[in-house]
C-alpha cells in the first residue's frame, strides 16, 4: 500500500540553473582514490 506522505518525501527537487554554479563549485569532494592515498600517506608518515 502506498503511503502518500512517505512517498512524497522521497521526491527531491531538481537542480535549477541558478543553483548549478554552486553545485559545480561544491563538487570538488575527495573521491575514493584521494581518501585511500591520504590513508596511505598518513600510514607512511606514522612509520
Amino acid at each position: 500500500m502506498i503511503n502518500f506522505d512517505e512517498e512524497i518525501k522521497k521526491f527531491q527537487p531538481s537542480l535549477e540553473v541558478e543553483e548549478a554554479e554552486d553545485a559545480i563549485y561544491n563538487n570538488d569532494v575527495p573521491d575514493l582514490t584521494d581518501l585511500i592515498n591520504k590513508i596511505v600517506d598518513d600510514t607512511a608518515k606514522d612509520k
Binding site: I2, F11, S14, V17, E19, A20, I24, V29, D31, D34
Partner: protein
C-alpha cells in the same frame, strides 16, 4: 592512464616515472571506477536509466576524474529530463579535461537553442514549485502545474512520477497508469514506476472482490486510456468513397455546375455593379463638367449682351456727336429751314420743318427758332401744297398729288381738305391701308366735316 598527481602517462610500474608517486592504489581504484562505468554503460544501452545513474555515480565516487563516466552520466540525466544536472556534469568534466572532451560539444548543443533550453529550465522550476505545493497539501495546484510541465517536457521522469502519485491519491488510476507507462518508455526498469504500477494493479483488483478457488485468469483491464486535456476525439466517419466511375463523373459535373452558378449569381452581379458604378461616376463627372460649361456659357452670353447694348449706346452717342441723327439732325433741319426762310423761300422753309418734332429739339433757342419759322411759313406752305396737289389730282397724277396733300396736311393740321384728298389719292393708288389711315384722321379729328360719313363708311368697310 595518467598519474593523478602530475598527469604523466603511467606505465605498468606502480610508480609514476615522472613524479615518482605511488600509483598502485590509484590504478586499482581507476580500474574499479571503469568497471562501474562499463556497468552503467550496459544499463544505459538497454534504457535502464535509473540503474545506469547508480552505477555511474559509484564510478565517479571512486574516481572523480573518470570523464567518460561523467559524460555518460550527463547524457543519462539529459535523457531523464534533468538538463541542468547534465550540464553540471559536463562542465565538471570539461574542467578536469578541457582538450578532446566530448562534453564541450554537448554543452554547445544545449546552449545553441536558447529558447528550448529556457523552456526546459522553466519546466524544472515548475516541477520544484509543484513538489512544494504537494508537500503543502495544495494538490490541485500541483496537478495543474505538473500537467503543464509534462506537456512541455514529457521526458522529466520525476514530474511524471509525482503526477502519477497524485492521481493515485485521487484514485484516478487510469491517468496515473498513463503517466507511469510514459516513464517506462524512457526508463525501462525504473523501480519507483514499477512499484506504482504494481500498486495500481492491486488497487484495481481489490475493486473486483469476486474470486473462485481456482486461480483466476489474469484479466487484462481493458480500461480505456484516460483522457487528458490534450486528447482529441475523432468521431468515426461513415463516409464511403463511391467506387462507380460514372457517379464520380456526375459528381464532377454537378460540382462544375454549382461553381458556375455561384460565379453567375455572386461574382457577376458584383462585377456588374462595379462597372455600373464606374459608369455612373463617369456620367456624373461629365454632367458636372457640362453644367459648369453651360453656366459659363450663360455668363458669357449675358456679358456679350451687355457689351452689345453698351456698344449700341456708345454708337448712338457717337452718331449724335457726328451729327448723323438724333438731335443734331433736327438742328440741321431747323438751320436749313432758317436759311430758306432768310432766302424768302417760305414753302421750302416749311417743308424743312415738316418732319421736325419741336419737343425733341435740344435747346430752347432751337425751339424758339422753329416756332418763329413755323408760324411764319406753315399756313401759306399748306395752301401752296394743297393747290399743287389739286392740280395733280385733276390731272389724275395721284402719286405726286398725294405727296402734296400729305405735306399740306403736315403743315396745317386743320386742313381737312388735304386729308380728304390724300385719302382719295391713296384709294386711287390702291393703297387701302394708307387710305384708311387718312379717312380715320377725318373720323377722329374732323367729326363735324362733310367728309365724315364717307370716311366712316370706308373705315368700317376696310
Amino acid at each position: 592512464m595518467r598519474c593523478y598527481k602530475c598527469g604523466g602517462v603511467l606505465s605498468d610500474s606502480n610508480v609514476c616515472s615522472r613524479c615518482g608517486a605511488n600509483v598502485a592504489v590509484y590504478k586499482k581504484a581507476a580500474k574499479a571506477s571503469n568497471a562501474y562505468y562499463n556497468l552503467g554503460l550496459a544499463k544505459a544501452r538497454v534504457r535502464d536509466l535509473t540503474g545506469a545513474v547508480e552505477s555511474l555515480k559509484t564510478s565517479i565516487t571512486i574516481n572523480k576524474r573518470n570523464i567518460e563516466a561523467r559524460n555518460l552520466l550527463g547524457l543519462v540525466y539529459c535523457e531523464m529530463g534533468d538538463v541542468v544536472e547534465a550540464l553540471s556534469q559536463w562542465v565538471i568534466s570539461k574542467n578536469i579535461q578541457s582538450a578532446e572532451n566530448p562534453a564541450e560539444s554537448y554543452i554547445t548543443r544545449i546552449q545553441s537553442n536558447q529558447n528550448r533550453f529556457e523552456m526546459i529550465s522553466n519546466t524544472i522550476k515548475k516541477y520544484n514549485q509543484s513538489l512544494l505545493c504537494a508537500q503543502e497539501q495544495n494538490y490541485d495546484m500541483a496537478v495543474i502545474q505538473l500537467k503543464k510541465v509534462i506537456t512541455q517536457n514529457p521526458k522529466l521522469i520525476k514530474a511524471q512520477q509525482l503526477l502519477a502519485l497524485l492521481y493515485i491519491k485521487d484514485k484516478e488510476y487510469g491517468r496515473a497508469k498513463k503517466c507511469l507507462n510514459a516513464v517506462l518508455k524512457i526508463d525501462r526498469n525504473n523501480t519507483l514506476t514499477l512499484r506504482y504500477l504494481d500498486e495500481i494493479e492491486k488497487l484495481s483488483a481489490v475493486k473486483d472482490p469476486q474470486s473462485s478457488f481456482l486461480p483466476k485468469k489474469q484479466r487484462v483491464i481493458s480500461e480505456p486510456a484516460a483522457l487528458n486535456g490534450n486528447d482529441v476525439i475523432i468521431p468515426k466517419s461513415s463516409y464511403k468513397e463511391p467506387s462507380n466511375g460514372a457517379i464520380t463523373i456526375i459528381n464532377i459535373l454537378v460540382g462544375v455546375l454549382i461553381g458556375a452558378a455561384l460565379i453567375w449569381f455572386l461574382i457577376m452581379p458584383a462585377r456588374y455593379k462595379g462597372l455600373t458604378e464606374d459608369y455612373n461616376r463617369s456620367l456624373a463627372e461629365y454632367s458636372e463638367q457640362l453644367s459648369s460649361g453651360n453656366v459659363e456659357l450663360n455668363s458669357l452670353t449675358k456679358q456679350l449682351q451687355e457689351v452689345t447694348a453698351q456698344k449700341e449706346s456708345v454708337e448712338q452717342q457717337l452718331e449724335q456727336l457726328n451729327g448723323t441723327g438724333g438731335s443734331n439732325k433736327l438742328l440741321n433741319a431747323v438751320i436749313q429751314s432758317a436759311d430758306s426762310y432768310i432766302a424768302n423761300n417760305k414753302t421750302d422753309a416749311a417743308e424743312k420743318l415738316i418732319d421736325v418734332d419741336v419737343s425733341a429739339l435740344p435747346t430752347d433757342e432751337a425751339k424758339a427758332l422753329y416756332t418763329t419759322i413755323a408760324t411764319a411759313t406753315m399756313t401759306s406752305a399748306s395752301t401752296e401744297f394743297y393747290s399743287k396737289g389739286t392740280t395733280d389730282y385733276n390731272k389724275k397724277s395721284y402719286d405726286t398729288a398725294v405727296e402734296f396733300f400729305v405735306k399740306a396736311y403736315k403743315c396745317d393740321k386743320t386742313n381737312v381738305n388735304a386729308v380728304y384728298y390724300a385719302a382719295k389719292c391713296y384709294v386711287a393708288l390702291n393703297q387701302p391701308d394708307n387710305a384708311k389711315t387718312y379717312y380715320q384722321y377725318i373720323v377722329s379729328d374732323f367729326a363735324t366735316s362733310g367728309y365724315v360719313t364717307e370716311a366712316k363708311s370706308y373705315v368700317d368697310s376696310h
